[in-house]
C-alpha cells in the first residue's frame, strides 16, 4: 500500500488514479498511523513553498514523514513535495525544508536565460547524472516528462539523479538512500511517468 501524504495541499486525485492504473493500491490520508504503516510514501505539493511547509508542520505530518524516512520507508516527493525534501527555500522569503536531501530551492530565473519563460511549463527531456537511479530503470536517456515550476533545487550535489535543460541544467530528480524526489509530475507524464511510479513500487526500491 502506498500512502499519499494528505496535508491539505494540492490535488491528490491524479496520483491515486495513476497508482491504480499500474495496479498498485494507493490511498491519500492524513492519518499518522496509516502513513507510518504504509510500504511507501508519496509527498505531493503544489503552490508556494512557505505555505506548504507550514501546512505540513501544522498537520503534524512533518514528523510522520521524517520518521518514515528515518526508518527506511521509500519516500517520493513530487514537484513541490520534492522541493520540501531539501534544506531550505527562497520562494517569497526564506523557509526551512525537511533537510532529507542537501540543497536549496531557488528561482530558476537566477540560472536560465532572461528571454525564457517562467514558469518552466511543458514536456522536457530527462538526462541522468551521477549513479543510476532505481526510479529510472525502465527509462531511456532523453525521455520526456511534464514540468510545471518556477523554482528548482540547487546544490543537491551527488544526490542529483536527473537534470533537464532549460538553457541551463535544472534539477529534475534527486535520490539519497530511500528518499526520492521528482520535480516533474510522473502522474502527468503519460506512459513514461507510469513507468517511473512502477519502478518506485518495485522490490529494488527497498530503502536502506
Amino acid at each position: 500500500m502506498v500512502g499519499i501524504v494528505d496535508y491539505g495541499v494540492g490535488n491528490l486525485f491524479s496520483l491515486v488514479s495513476s497508482f491504480a492504473a499500474i495496479g498498485v493500491e494507493a490511498k491519500a490520508s492524513g492519518d499518522p498511523s496509516f502513513l507510518l504503516g504504509a510500504d511507501r510514501l508519496v509527498l505531493p505539493g503544489v503552490g508556494a513553498f512557505g505555505d506548504a511547509a507550514r501546512a505540513l508542520r501544522r498537520s503534524g505530518l512533518q514528523e510522520v514523514v521524517l520518521e518514515a524516512a528515518k526508518k527506511g520507508t521509500p519516500l517520493l516527493g513530487v514537484c513541490l513535495g520534492m522541493q520540501l525534501l531539501l534544506e531550505k527555500s527562497y520562494e517569497y522569503g526564506e523557509h526551512p525544508g525537511l533537510g532529507l536531501i542537501p540543497g536549496e530551492v531557488r528561482p530558476i530565473s537566477e540560472t536560465i536565460l532572461p528571454e525564457l519563460k517562467i514558469p518552466h511549463i511543458g514536456w522536457n527531456a530527462l538526462h541522468f547524472v551521477n549513479k543510476p537511479c532505481p526510479l529510472f530503470r525502465d527509462l531511456r536517456e532523453g525521455e520526456y516528462v511534464y514540468f510545471v515550476h518556477s523554482y528548482a533545487g540547487t546544490g543537491c550535489g551527488e544526490t542529483t539523479a536527473a537534470v533537464t535543460e532549460y538553457s541551463a541544467p535544472l534539477t529534475a530528480a534527486v535520490w539519497k538512500d530511500n528518499v526520492y524526489g521528482c520535480q516533474f509530475h510522473p502522474e502527468k507524464s503519460g506512459p513514461v511517468g507510469l513507468r517511473i511510479l512502477r519502478a518506485f513500487c518495485a522490490k529494488e526500491v527497498e530503502g536502506c
Partner: protein
C-alpha cells in the same frame, strides 16, 4: 529543451464533444472519454476540456465525465467554461483537472484570477481570451465571442498576468473556424507583451499552419485546435513528425 505542445481542445456540451465554426453551428463529434484516450495514446501533449453546457444537470454530467477521463488519462488536463468562482476551480480540480481556464468569469471579476492563483498557484490559472479586431485594435469579447467588452486585448492580458495567470490561451475570433492559419499578427503582439507561456488557438487548418506558427513566432509555446484533430484531417503523430523534420522541438510519440 522544452518542446512545443500540441493541444486538442474538446468542447463538451451535455456530455458530448462538439465543435463550432466561428462559434455557431455545433456538430456532435464523439465521446469525450474516448477522444481523450485516443489523443493521449496518439501524442497529444495536453488536453483542454471546454464545458459549454448551460444547465446544472449538464454541468454535473460534465464533472462526472471529467472524473472518468482523469482516471484513465495521465497527461495534463485543462478545464474551462463556466468558471466564475473559486468554488468552480475547486469543483473541477477535485475531478482531476490540473489547470483551470478562465474567460468571461475573469472579465466580470478580475480578482478571481488573483484569488485562484493565490490558492492554487499561478500554474493552475490559465487566462483564455477571445479576441477580435475592432475599430483598429484587438478587442476582447466575452460570452463565447458574443459580447464586446470594450477592453483592449494586450492591456487585459497583461493585467491578467499581473493578477497571477500562469498561461494565456489566445483565441482569435477572426481566424477561428476558417482554417486559414493561426492569427500570427495577433499572436505576435500578445507573445511579445507577456512573459508567461502563450497558447495559439483559432485557425489551424493543416500541418503547414503549425510549422508556420512555430517558425514565425518562436515565443509561442503551444498550438491548440479542435475540429482538424476530431475529424482526422490532421493526425497528431504526422504533425509531430513534420514539426520535428523542420527542427521544431516536439515530444516524440
Amino acid at each position: 529543451m522544452i518542446t512545443k505542445r500540441i493541444i486538442p481542445c474538446l468542447d463538451v456540451r451535455d456530455g458530448r464533444v462538439v465543435k463550432g465554426v466561428n462559434f455557431t453551428g455545433l456538430n456532435d463529434v464523439s465521446s469525450p472519454v474516448e477522444l481523450a484516450k485516443y489523443y493521449t495514446e496518439n501524442g497529444a501533449d495536453e488536453l483542454v476540456f471546454y464545458d459549454i453546457t448551460a444547465s446544472a444537470e449538464g454541468r454535473r454530467l460534465f464533472t462526472d465525465i471529467l472524473c472518468e477521463t482523469a482516471r484513465t488519462v495521465f497527461i495534463p488536463l485543462t478545464v474551462g467554461g463556466g468558471i466564475n468562482t473559486v468554488e468552480d476551480f475547486d469543483r473541477v480540480l477535485k475531478c482531476g483537472a490540473d489547470k483551470v481556464s478562465v474567460n468571461s468569469g475573469a472579465l466580470k471579476n478580475p480578482e478571481l484570477i488573483r484569488e485562484a492563483s493565490r490558492k492554487y498557484g499561478d500554474q493552475c490559472v490559465v487566462l483564455s481570451a477571445d479576441v477580435k479586431r475592432k475599430e483598429g485594435e484587438f478587442r476582447v469579447f466575452a460570452k463565447g465571442g458574443r459580447e464586446d467588452t470594450g477592453l483592449e486585448a494586450i492591456t487585459w492580458i497583461k493585467r491578467g498576468v499581473c493578477l497571477g495567470a500562469g498561461e494565456i490561451v489566445l483565441n482569435s475570433i477572426d481566424t477561428d473556424g476558417v482554417k486559414g492559419g493561426f492569427d500570427l499578427e495577433m499572436l505576435e503582439a500578445v507573445s511579445n507583451a507577456v512573459s508567461v507561456p502563450v497558447i495559439a488557438s483559432g485557425g489551424a487548418g493543416n500541418i503547414e499552419d503549425f510549422i508556420t506558427l512555430f517558425q514565425t513566432l518562436p515565443r509561442v509555446d503551444a498550438g491548440l485546435a479542435a475540429s482538424i484533430f476530431h475529424f482526422g484531417e490532421v493526425r497528431i503523430s504526422d504533425l509531430k513528425a513534420a514539426l520535428k523534420k523542420e527542427g521544431i522541438p516536439v515530444r516524440e510519440v
